[in-house]
């Protein structure tokens, strides 16, 4: 059981690492939001489910409640994170920032 939890946790960490590296590697503001906002959601899903599984292991009612609360974190982040990303993108559009495009498209 501990092995399964470790594997899930490692998957989540890979997604988080990918998100951080993506923020540096992608070319402009808008495309940087893709890894920033959304690889995080997958990373959170994996790491939080690992935490929930780990918490519930010596099974008791209070442990179950704690893991349900951890799952609720994921639910609320999944509702708020797209809204937050949309707000950031909208702010960028309103400020007049042009999205980066490949030079072949601009011709």
């Amino acid at each position: 059981m501990t092995i399964i939890i470790t594997i899930i946790l490692l998957c989540g960490l890979v997604f988080f690492t990918g998100g951080s590296i993506g923020i540096i590697r992608f070319p402009d503001f808008y495309s940087r939001l893709h890894p920033a906002g959304k690889l995080d959601s997958a990373g959170l899903l994996f790491s939080m489910s690992a935490f929930a599984l780990y918490t519930v292991q010596p099974f008791s009612l209070s442990a179950l409640f704690t893991s349900v609360k951890i799952i609720l974190i994921v639910v609320f982040v999944f509702i708020t994170s797209p809204t937050a990303i949309h707000a950031i993108v909208d702010a960028g559009v309103r400020a007049g920032l042009k999205p980066w495009e490949k030079e072949s498209n601009l011709k």
Partner: protein
């Protein structure tokens, strides 16, 4: 539920010509028992979950605060009289979620692949595409916009009240499937 109440307040602001004047379809100040009871039950569930204590003192505190909250703001959670088929809608939405999670997972893998690819700049092709959605309701459009943003590779830039969507997508493959299957599934959920 949060999205539902949000989009409803947006609708109210936009449908009125002057938001400071009371509109005709303003909720009446009559006591509505069913929304009150539902709010109380939901609040009580959350209280039990978050407190985790079942002695008389904490339970009575919870009951009192749930009563106050549901008396003051049951109209916030259920703005109008309960629309018919609400629970069926929730049930169908729950059926929609696994597919959405599968899509999120697939698309996350795709963005992860792009991130670690050595020749990433050749693969990506960021652009903004515009399309018209045929979804009518506010809640369904909100769900659609949030689903687009959740599936990586695509971010909703603009979702208009007339059903126009602008989506920023990271490469050609991410943008191809829009609006497509996701819109169909949401239309099925909300009976449109």
């Amino acid at each position: 539920m949060d999205a539902a109440s949000n989009s409803n307040s947006v609708k109210n602001i936009r449908s009125d010509k002057n938001p400071y004047q009371p509109s005709e379809n303003r909720p009446t100040k009559k006591f509505a028992p069913v929304p009150f009871l539902l709010t109380f039950i939901i609040m009580a569930c959350f209280w039990l979950l978050f407190s985790g204590r079942f002695d008389l003192f904490h339970l009575s505190l919870g009951a009192a605060s749930c009563l106050i909250v549901s008396a003051l703001s049951s109209r916030l959670l259920f703005p109008e009289a309960l629309p018919p088929g609400l629970f069926k809608c929730w049930f169908k939405f729950a059926l929609y979620l696994p597919w959405l999670f599968y899509q999120i997972f697939l698309a996350n893998l795709h963005v992860l692949y792009l991130t670690f690819h050595p020749r990433m700049m050749d693969l990506i092709n960021p652009k903004i595409i515009k399309f018209d959605s045929r979804l009518k309701g506010d809640v369904s459009r909100t769900t659609f916009a949030n689903s687009i943003t959740l599936t990586p590779g695509t971010i909703t830039v603009y979702a208009g009240i007339m059903g126009t969507f602008a989506v920023h997508c990271i490469d050609d493959k991410s943008g191809q499937s829009l609006p497509g299957e996701m819109e169909k599934k949401i239309a099925k959920v909300f009976d449109e």
